[in-house]
């Protein structure tokens, strides 16, 4: 899929030079051309087949601690120069004047997708939806509603800066999710499962959508006989791949340098300290091929990297974008991301995961006399200042006498990040990842989360049963 550059290098050079005309330390052009398609099957019908195209560029000018930003859907030289003019208005320090900017050859990640979803016949995508719908409904007569959602996108990105960054990336993402409603005597229950990968349509050569649909349907069906979740503090065993969001919320956000430099995180100033159980080694890694938070270059043109955040329980580093790294005189960790060209970049996670341990996952349950087993988590949220965080359960069971027993209705679980990290007393070997969408300051980006089965000695379950 060789293609011409989104913006010619000589135009980029002129726009960057113009952006620093009034002064400033750095100027950047971020251009994006994103094509997407989606299809939704709901209530047995393909209701919505949609295609979208978003193309534009943002110009950023940084002058001291101040950032100016303007974006435009007009990628012509005139359009970009107009955006540069607006972005440059924040530069007040002076020191501008005529600048020349010379960019080197573009570094390109090339295309890592085998099968561009845009080239796949729409009928083949719809077959996937029908197959998933059939499988979900076949899982049980109590399945009363099924929604299957498919989406793909190809995002071409170009970043050029007055610091000499000049890169292109080509990110292809494909996803499919199934939501089921089961209806019984006690009302309705829901089940959800998804696959989401930074790769092309070839993902469906490996992933059987019928299996995915069955998992979602069974989740809803089992909950029909669920009892209310307990209220209060109990030991919790999180299944492998169910709850990487635990770390995303419990400490991931709190390790983002924008919170750190503003002293708005409980983890500020704690590098080198034991912040977690020695069983915890936490990594954020944008390079893991195919995972939902994977890319070759971040949205500031920095190569994706593997960053160890917590090693054997000791805090080793934070996550950095260009702006916050500069303030500390270091380099970005490759975590500068943005939702689209209409947004400023900020510090974001990529694929965040806990390295596997040595325990047998079944033994871990057997050694827990009473507690809650969470097979699948929903989303979560954190208050980074206090470290208090929640995550929802979407498939959970009681553990009684070391055995997984009654299914539980959905509830939120609440804990304090630094406290919960210290209460992890066992980590198993069955590592798995799962995809998610991370929201921060109104921007959404795809992320991956991962962990093996683990146990927290006590965490507050927000159910109603006493």
């Amino acid at each position: 899929m060789a293609s011409s550059p989104l913006i010619d290098p000589d135009v980029l050079e002129r726009v960057l030079a113009s952006a620093l005309r009034r002064g400033g330390d750095m100027a950047e052009v971020f251009a994006e051309d994103r094509r997407s398609s989606s299809a939704v099957l709901d209530d047995r019908r393909v209701e919505e087949l949609a295609s979208g195209r978003e193309r534009g560029a943002g110009v950023r000018v940084v002058d001291g601690d101040t950032t100016g930003y303007a974006h435009t859907a007009d990628l012509s030289q005139a359009g970009l120069l107009a955006a540069a003019e607006v972005a440059a208005a924040v530069a007040r320090a002076g020191g501008g004047g005529t600048r020349t900017v010379a960019l080197g050859p573009v570094a390109s990640a090339g295309d890592r997708s085998l099968v561009d979803p845009a080239a796949v016949d729409k009928g083949r995508k719809l077959e996937l939806l029908a197959r998933a719908d059939d499988a979900a409904r076949a899982a049980g007569g109590a399945i009363t509603q099924v929604q299957v959602s498919y989406g793909d996108s190809r995002r071409r990105v170009l970043v050029a800066t007055t610091d000499g960054v000049h890169v292109e990336d080509d990110q292809v993402r494909t996803r499919l999710s199934v939501s089921c409603v089961a209806t019984g005597d006690t009302g309705m229950q829901t089940g959800y499962e998804s696959v989401a990968r930074t790769e092309g349509f070839e993902v469906f050569d490996r992933v059987a959508v019928a299996d995915l649909a069955q998992v979602a349907a069974n989740r809803a069906l089992r909950k029909l006989s669920a009892r209310p979740a307990p209220s209060g503090e109990l030991p919790v065993v999180l299944a492998g791949g169910s709850g990487g969001f635990l770390f995303h919320e419990a400490c991931g956000h709190g390790l983002e340098a924008d919170h750190i430099v503003k002293d708005a995180s409980v983890y500020t100033g704690r590098v080198g300290e034991q912040v977690a159980s020695p069983l915890v080694t936490l990594v954020d890694d944008g390079t893991v091929a195919g995972e939902w938070g994977n890319f070759a270059f971040d949205d500031e043109g920095r190569p994706a990297a593997r960053n160890v955040l917590i090693q054997d329980g000791v805090l080793t580093d934070y996550l950095w974008d260009w702006l916050r790294a500069r303030k500390e005189g270091r380099t970005s960790s490759g975590n500068g991301r943005r939702q689209s060209y209409q947004h400023l970049p900020m510090v974001r996670m990529t694929n965040t995961f806990l390295l596997a341990g040595t325990e047998d996952p079944e033994e871990l349950v057997a050694q827990t006399p009473r507690g809650v087993y969470i097979a699948k988590l929903g989303g979560g949220q954190v208050n980074t200042a206090t470290g208090d965080f929640v995550f929802g359960t979407s498939e959970a069971y009681l553990i009684e006498d070391g055995r997984i027993t009654a299914p539980l209705r959905d509830a939120n679980v609440i804990g304090n990040g630094p406290d919960i990290l210290r209460r992890i007393d066992a980590v198993a070997t069955d590592f798995a990842m799962m995809p998610g969408t991370c929201g921060k300051d109104g921007q959404s980006v795809p992320v991956g989360c991962g962990q093996a089965t683990l146990r927290v000695t006590g965490i507050t379950i927000g159910g109603t049963a006493t």
Binding site: R53, T66, K122, A385, V390, I414, G462
Partner: protein, 451 residues
């Protein structure tokens, strides 16, 4: 205005024989300013525009619908979107209920939602406002140790809609927002309080309120501890109640009902809430932040009374869900900008106010919990089953007054049960950004989980 309407008309004129076409064209101007430590941390400004095109083709077994959107108003890109929507329609499942909206004779309300001060105010004055709030917050209280962000934002939005079925609508609105966060305390006993103000224009923003809220909400949480578990009466403050109301109104969507995804399905005429609950969605109230003359299919918005004295009267519908249910659209189509297709949604949910204000409601509670903010609403509330479990911070209520602060706790129940347990609806109605008004709300018998 005319260029957007002309563009929508041009798309619709491209309809081929046997096709119905609808064009939704939007343009927005946005400014966002963040202040930090006496400086502008960031200032962005932009104009965005785009088009969403739906093509409907009738045939054997019903109509097929295709959709395409583009983030551009340039003619060639818009033409591509029409062609792509047409192609997509060919793959959809024929459905007898699919249709574009048709004029229904309801006259749209005359609403003035455009405040010229948004465009007229100089950027420097907007910057000065953000810096002023930051300065005041830092000086407000010695316990405030950090003001991580003060944000000013405004927008001017224009939308034109046209269709081959006779829809033609143009509307424009402005909005201005001010939001600030303050952190009180040190180390693990750090608490964030936020203040927000939203108005139609620059002049309507309430700086005093933003500062007072950010300070009070952060400082009163100092020393918060995890409470013991138990059953309590919960008093939701205006902001928390607005969030709660928005969730409940999601289950009043006729689309969720006809697809068997609402716990309200099949319950019209039943007592679903206590008699103190009378709930309407009224986008024609110009004070509502999301007030609108037209819905997202170009029909007139109207006041829809949904629950009266606790009895469920009906649901909200857009054109397609109404046809599925065999009723008429209630003018309740919404969409998430030009990249989204219409769906059912509320814009201005409001409860008929009761007699008591916050103080009066607290005075009626011997022991309870006052909730100032909730987290995990998207993960802990299931609008299909009604299961409700969210993280909260707030203050205990003892002897009818606010007492010690609490954190790291959850409250849980089901939405069905909560509606049947509403003790008081506050008289303190305030329009907040979002789809529901803020009114203090007291709900009996929820499970508080802590130690």
């Amino acid at each position: 205005m005319s260029d957007l309407v002309a563009l929508a008309d041009r798309v619709v004129d491209g309809a081929r024989a046997g096709e119905e076409v609808e064009a939704y064209v939007a343009r927005g101007h946005d400014v966002e300013i963040r202040a930090y430590e006496g400086e502008i941390e960031s200032l962005s400004s932009a104009t965005t525009g785009g088009v969403g095109v739906r093509v409907l083709v009738r045939g054997e077994g019903g109509a097929r619908l295709g959709f395409a959107w583009a983030g551009s108003l340039e003619a060639d890109v818009v033409d591509d979107a029409l062609a792509e929507a047409r192609d997509n329609a060919a793959f959809a499942t024929p459905d007898p209920h699919l249709a574009l909206a048709e004029p229904d004779g309801v006259t749209p309300a005359e609403l003035d939602l455009w405040d010229p001060t948004v465009a007229e105010t100089a950027t420097d004055d907007k910057v000065a406002l953000a810096l002023e709030v930051e300065r005041r917050l830092r000086a407000a209280d010695p316990r405030i140790r950090q003001v991580p962000s003060v944000d000013y934002a405004d927008e001017r939005v224009e939308v034109a809609l046209a269709s081959t079925t006779g829809i033609r609508a143009y509307s424009c609105r402005t909005g201005a927002y001010l939001a600030a966060a303050a952190i009180a305390g040190d180390g693990p006993d750090s608490h964030t309080g936020t203040g927000i103000s939203a108005a139609r224009g620059f002049a309507g923003l309430d700086v005093e309120r933003v500062c007072a809220d950010a300070v009070a909400r952060s400082t009163r949480m100092l020393g918060a501890t995890k409470p013991p578990s138990g059953r309590v009466t919960v008093v939701f403050d205006q902001r928390a109640a607005s969030t709660l109301l928005a969730i409940v109104s999601g289950a009043l969507s006729g689309e969720a009902v006809v697809k068997g995804r609402s716990f309200f399905a099949g319950r019209v005429g039943e007592q679903v809430a206590t008699g103190s609950v009378t709930l309407a969605d009224d986008p024609t109230d110009a004070r509502a932040f999301r007030a609108a003359a037209y819905d997202a299919e170009g029909l007139a918005c109207r006041r829809n009374l949904l629950i009266e004295s606790g009895v469920l009267l009906g649901f909200l519908y857009d054109t397609v869900s109404a046809r599925r249910a065999g009723v008429a659209s209630t003018g309740s189509a919404v969409r998430g900008g030009y990249a989204g297709t219409p769906g059912v949604g509320c814009r201005a949910v409001v409860l008929v106010p009761g007699q008591l204000d916050l103080e009066g409601i607290l005075a009626s509670v011997e022991t309870g919990l006052f909730v100032q903010s909730m987290i995990g609403v998207h993960s802990g509330v299931n609008p299909v089953s009604g299961d409700f479990s969210v993280g909260v911070e707030g203050l205990m209520v003892r002897g009818g007054e606010l007492a010690e602060p609490i954190r790291e706790a959850t409250i849980a129940s089901t939405l069905q049960r909560m509606l049947q347990s509403v003790l008081h609806v506050g008289c303190d109605l305030e329009w907040l950004p979002g789809v529901a008004a803020g009114q203090t709300l007291a709900v009996a018998d929820m499970q508080l989980s802590g130690n």
